[in-house]
Symmetry: C2
Subunit: 324 residues, 2 copies
């Protein structure tokens, strides 16, 4: 079995050998640009780790691993248009570099390329893998739509938010893990379990992402602290506090980011004071811990020797930025 | 065997029973809106006619027929954003009605829905049908990119233009016919032939479309004559004439549509006079006739009794607006 870094190396090698047509340039160059943007490749790595944990050959799983990475990057191309995001991984987004028409069409081609890559899975598993991939892809679209919807409505319940982040980010991780398990010849039950492992992990990761944005260090977050607060974003911190706070405190949460008499620092402090008043960071931390532990404990129930789950465990810790 | 109208009825019935989730509304309502916009359904009808011509059961082919129609409408959603087109089939386009973000994301969901529908083809034919559908879908994206490229460059060769319209419009017709033939259990050779039939027919249709835009009647075209000329569009008339004309005449073709001293009627007359000088309408008409006859003659070579090709023949005549 290979660890995270070895698997990542293999994947990067495979990606580097990907062949795309040279023309039309404005269709295919943005795909190469987007795919070489780096990132942690968390979806293909998880797919490959899951495959190998069950004794599968990662070579068989490479096309599917590239398919989920291609699909993920397709969603980024289109999301960046919708969010008007001009920077992606420290470089201009495809949308910023080539404009929205190119980002739309290259994104479309990437989604179709993902399906083309899926044809490279073992033929006897094709139908089953499509039945994981396609519903997952639709769920990601649903999650993105809910995310955009939530920006426009006043009141979002915590449960609605959890459903949205599950659709928008966790199902892709979960589907990737499940596809890897299928290629690794895992039993139906283990496939469902590994799906659940990745789903819980994805939710823990997303909740932690929200938490770090307000309470992390610049090193942990990789950018300035407090961005979500300054945007007035409906995060799990915001929505959990809204569900517990007095009307007076809710008013503070609704309007602080719009108050032009305050500095950014003052806005961040004022909103965090309300979060703290209701002990919400602690609540979220507990939720993260519960989901993270649940993910790990699912690994214990798989029908394979515990030592085979070592790298899936390390993957979880690595994703959450935790030491072993 | 059923004729075009009977097949169309069956398809519309099947489409009317399509089930989509109710939420998120802004993801799925635009899909229903786009799919109920009517149109001649030329791609699914051809797919079903081809299936039945080879003795297949159209019930088996319905999911694939809906998949190609779904895919076609996905391309329209995204093309309308890129072309800034606010009207589609006499109604506001999805882009105009809901904005570009909704049109992007609903379009994405439609493409994924197309793949979901393809899972409904007979299981033993799934891999083969994906191998027709996916390359076809990529070619359509390539065609759209070339089309956008050509708007921005001065000189486009006639052969480049033919390649573009083949990719952008004919391959989808050809792929649809081939998928129908596969489901109808046609031989490999007949599948290739029916592909060629639809490809030639699609090219004839597209050339005729260009010709009618300048030389048709309002009844034939369904809109005002001369739109392409007023836009300065690089059509087959324009590019063929450019390849034959003197530099002086080429200047007329390049600049007439921009000349603010001329009325629309004068612009149209001036450009058509150049087309006529080089006998280009006649040349295009001959090209249309050659491709149309080639399409029909391919039907004679299929390994099925001639009478089984009756409705494919009628389809071709119908598509080209010709009496039998």
């Amino acid at each position: 079995m290979r660890n995270n870094d070895q698997i990542l190396d293999l994947f990067e090698n495979y990606l580097a050998q990907m062949q795309l047509p040279e023309e039309p340039e404005l269709l295919y160059n943005p795909i190469i640009y987007a795919m070489s943007g780096g990132g942690k490749r968390i979806r293909p790595v998880l797919l490959l780790l899951a495959c190998e944990a069950f004794g599968g050959d990662v070579t068989d799983a490479m096309p599917a691993a590239l398919a989920v990475e291609m699909f993920h990057n397709f969603t980024l191309l289109h999301d960046d248009i919708m969010d008007n995001a001009v920077v992606r991984r420290g470089k201009p987004s495809v949308y910023a570099k080539w404009g929205s028409n190119v980002a739309i069409l290259s994104g479309d081609a990437m989604m179709i390329e993902a399906y083309k890559l899926l044809r490279g899975v073992p033929e006897d598993k094709l139908a089953r893998i499509l039945d994981i991939f396609t519903p997952m892809a639709l769920q990601v679209c649903e999650g993105q739509q809910y995310d955009m919807d939530f920006e426009k409505i006043q009141k979002v319940a915590v449960a609605e938010y959890m459903n949205m982040i599950e659709l928008k980010t966790s199902v892709l991780l979960a589907g990737s893990a499940m596809i890897g398990a299928v290629i690794g010849n895992a039993s139906e039950e283990d496939c469902r379990k590994i799906y659940r492992y990745a789903l819980e992990l994805g939710l823990a990761f997303q909740l932690q992402d929200d938490l770090l944005d307000s309470y992390g260090t610049v090193e942990e977050l990789g950018k300035r602290i407090g961005g979500d607060i300054l945007e007035g974003k409906k995060t799990c911190l915001m929505l959990n506090t809204m569900s517990r706070a007095t009307e007076e405190d809710r008013e503070v949460l609704r309007h602080t980011h719009l108050d032009e008499t305050l500095s950014d620092e003052e806005k961040i402090q004022r909103v965090k004071a309300v979060y703290d008043k209701y002990d919400v960071p602690k609540v979220i931390n507990q939720q993260i811990a519960v989901r993270f532990e649940r993910a790990l404990s699912i690994l214990d129930t798989l029908d394979i020797p515990t030592e085979r789950t070592e790298y899936l465990r390390a993957y979880a810790q690595n994703l959450m930025g935790r030491k072993k």
